[in-house]
């Protein structure tokens, strides 16, 4: 792709979400290195906020600095690699070959500026053929400076028959007021491989967030994503896209607990490209205060004998919040079976009354019901991550009640 068209894209707004003037934010010189004491403290604070236990992190990014060595050794035991993408682009041919192939740099101003100014900070992970990494790979991206822009470009390749479980937490420690996070993620799931990706976002009122995610799943591969956002935010706009080959499948669940006056524009698109591919897009939205949530989902079938389903459920907790569900299903071949269901409502009075008669206060009862509402059973998520998610959802349901 020629540089000129990418530079032109620097002023190209995204299709959805409020347009952000990136020149208002400061960009540090992208760098790599070790964590210092002060950063460690901030990271502890961020982990608390994310509800993570003090897990061994594989990769930490603070503002524009990549800190990665922490678990490198552990992963190398399996022949797996994790390093800042910038380093990978120098050392590993595969990284060079696949970087910026799923997501085009000129997609919008966020991808273009990441390409041009991001310095390829972010993580690169490679899982060798037929290798299952038994423990989750934790990564954490934090913005600890004020009015900063954080670019992250992540590339993951799970080779044939491999399996990995990625958990990424993105957050600001308490006290940070403004900033923007732009995360470009490109995931390759090779034949018979499986990748689960759990992402938890805990930002703050003045933060804008623009993740750009593209996933390519080869024959008989599986991709599962589980996305949770529960903090207030200025705006969040994302529309991950997953391409599915023969016999492959994808499951994308998102759980949004919106609050404050944030704009949460969350989508997911799957392309059922080949025979016998299938996908499910599930979302749960709880909105309070003055938040606005747009839950988008799009399944496009290009082959017969494919299946796709969208399910969006919303819970409106305030007069001033908005939840909008925008599902699209498109079939380009007979024999594709696509469906969607959406429902927006409020907490069922009967259930609330029932729980209160069992001795729960109204707040406790609401939290239990919201917690239940957010329970979606993602398949293939290992037990330990499931437990982590459960802990986080416990936290989220408390936030959601306010």
């Amino acid at each position: 792709m020629d540089r000129e068209s990418i530079e032109k894209a620097l002023s190209k707004p995204a299709l959805y979400g409020p347009d952000i003037d990136l020149s208002k934010y400061r960009l540090d010189e992208p760098s790599m290195g070790e964590l210092n004491e002060k950063e460690l403290e901030s990271i502890d604070n961020v982990l608390d906020k994310l509800g993570f236990q003090k897990t061994p992190l594989s990769y930490v990014q603070i503002d524009e600095s990549a800190r990665y060595r922490i678990m490198e050794k552990f992963l190398s035991k399996y022949g797996a690699k994790i390093m800042p993408l910038r380093k990978a682009l120098d050392e590993i041919d595969l990284a060079k070959k696949i970087s910026w192939k799923i997501i085009k740099p000129d997609t919008d101003k966020y991808t273009a500026s990441t390409y041009l100014h991001g310095g390829e900070i972010g993580y690169f992970i490679y899982v060798p053929p037929h290798t299952r990494i038994p423990i989750p790979i934790y990564t954490c991206l934090a913005i600890i400076g004020e009015k900063k822009i954080q670019f992250a470009h992540n590339v993951v390749y799970v080779d044939e028959g491999g399996e990995a479980h990625l958990v990424t937490g993105c957050a600001v420690p308490h006290g940070v007021r403004e900033g923007i996070h732009i995360g470009i993620s490109e995931f390759y799931v090779a034949r018979n491989a499986r990748l689960t990706y759990t992402m938890i976002h805990a930002w703050a009122e003045g933060l804008h967030v623009r993740p750009r995610t593209g996933v390519y799943v080869e024959e008989s591969g599986e991709y599962v994503s589980y996305y949770v956002v529960y903090s207030p935010i200025a705006s969040l706009q994302t529309y991950p896209k997953v391409y599915l080959s023969k016999n492959s499948r994808a499951y994308l669940a998102s759980i949004t607990a919106a609050s404050g006056s944030g704009i949460y524009d969350l989508g997911a698109k799957t392309i059922l490209g080949e025979n016998n591919s299938s996908s499910e897009i599930i979302s749960r939205v709880v909105a309070r205060d003055n938040s606005q949530v747009y839950a988008r989902a799009d399944i496009e079938a290009h082959s017969s004998n494919t299946r796709g389903h969208i399910e969006c459920l919303g819970l409106l907790l305030s007069d001033n919040a908005i939840v909008s569900s925008i599902p699209i299903i498109t079939s380009k071949k007979p024999g594709a079976l696509l469906s969607h269901e959406a429902a927006i409502g409020m907490i069922a009075e009967k259930e609330l009354v029932y729980l209160m008669s069992k001795g729960f206060t109204e707040e406790e009862a609401r939290a239990i019901l919201i917690r239940g509402f957010m329970n979606v059973e993602a398949p293939s998520i290992p037990k330990n991550i499931r437990a982590e998610i459960n802990r986080i959802l416990d936290l989220v349901s408390k936030y959601a009640v306010g």
Partner: protein
């Protein structure tokens, strides 16, 4: 006296449903309330529990010497009143075991696994609360949650309706167990099945049109009601026993 209800009337949407009811229940007693559909039995129990859609329009409810007439239901629950709902709602996403745990952590139940065994609910605990439960499973599960509260007063709204013969046995065992711990029970039922299985019932109350029209001992009341139904039965009872007490 554990529970004392005086001249209690309750309204739903300004319509009087329960009308000037008097009722006294002491520790460890079992009282049975029977009456035709729509006569106000559930509404009476709901009024004692303090469910929000019901307004007390006359009278007082005293529990353990405390006037609870204006207290919200969760406070009554904490004081020791528990209600087994006639129709507990299906709650998607919320595990039966999670609610059980939450109740246990509130009430600190010491013998829960025993109760789970009495009521045969073990296999249901992993499922969403009441979702897809059969009629009988719902009844046993709801009674189990009531038992976890270790209540001083258990209000059981038709725990035996739609329940098979064996399960009625389990439910009767559970009620006996509650009594053995000193819990007072108010039991609403339509059938003699459950009453026959209980070792001792202190009183049977017949409720008609929101009013308790008759109360007496099981041996005098049950055979007559079972044979003649409520309206004829009451006539017979009034003639024979001169109005009970």
């Amino acid at each position: 006296m554990l529970l004392e209800i005086r001249e209690l009337s309750s309204c739903i949407n300004d319509k009087v449903i329960v009308n000037k009811v008097n009722l006294s229940v002491d520790r460890g007693e079992i009282h049975v309330i029977m009456g035709p559909n729509g006569s106000g039995k559930s509404t009476l129990l709901s009024t004692i529990m303090g469910l929000p859609h019901i307004r007390v329009c006359n009278g007082r409810i005293l529990f353990d010497g405390l006037d609870i007439t204006d207290k919200p239901s969760y406070e009554r629950a904490k004081l020791g009143i528990a209600l087994a709902h006639q129709y507990p709602p299906e709650i998607k996403g919320v595990k039966f075991s999670d609610i059980a745990k939450a109740i246990i952590s509130k009430y600190g139940c010491g013998d829960c696994s025993l109760m789970a065994r009495i009521l045969r609910v073990d296999e249901l605990l992993d499922r969403d609360l009441f979702v897809g439960f059969s009629g009988g499973e719902k009844k046993r599960s709801e009674l189990y949650l009531v038992m976890l509260q270790s209540p001083k007063l258990a209000l059981l709204d038709e725990p035996d309706s739609g329940v098979d013969v064996e399960s009625i046995e389990y439910i009767a065992n559970a009620i006996e167990y509650l009594r053995s711990r000193g819990t007072a029970v108010i039991l609403v039922t339509h059938t003699g099945m459950i009453t026959n299985k209980l070792s001792r019932i202190n009183r049977i109350h017949i409720m008609i049109n929101g009013t308790i029209k008759y109360n007496g001992y099981p041996d005098e009341v049950l055979p007559v009601i079972m044979k003649f139904g409520y309206s004829r039965g009451l006539e017979v009872l009034n003639r024979t026993f001169k109005g009970g007490i």
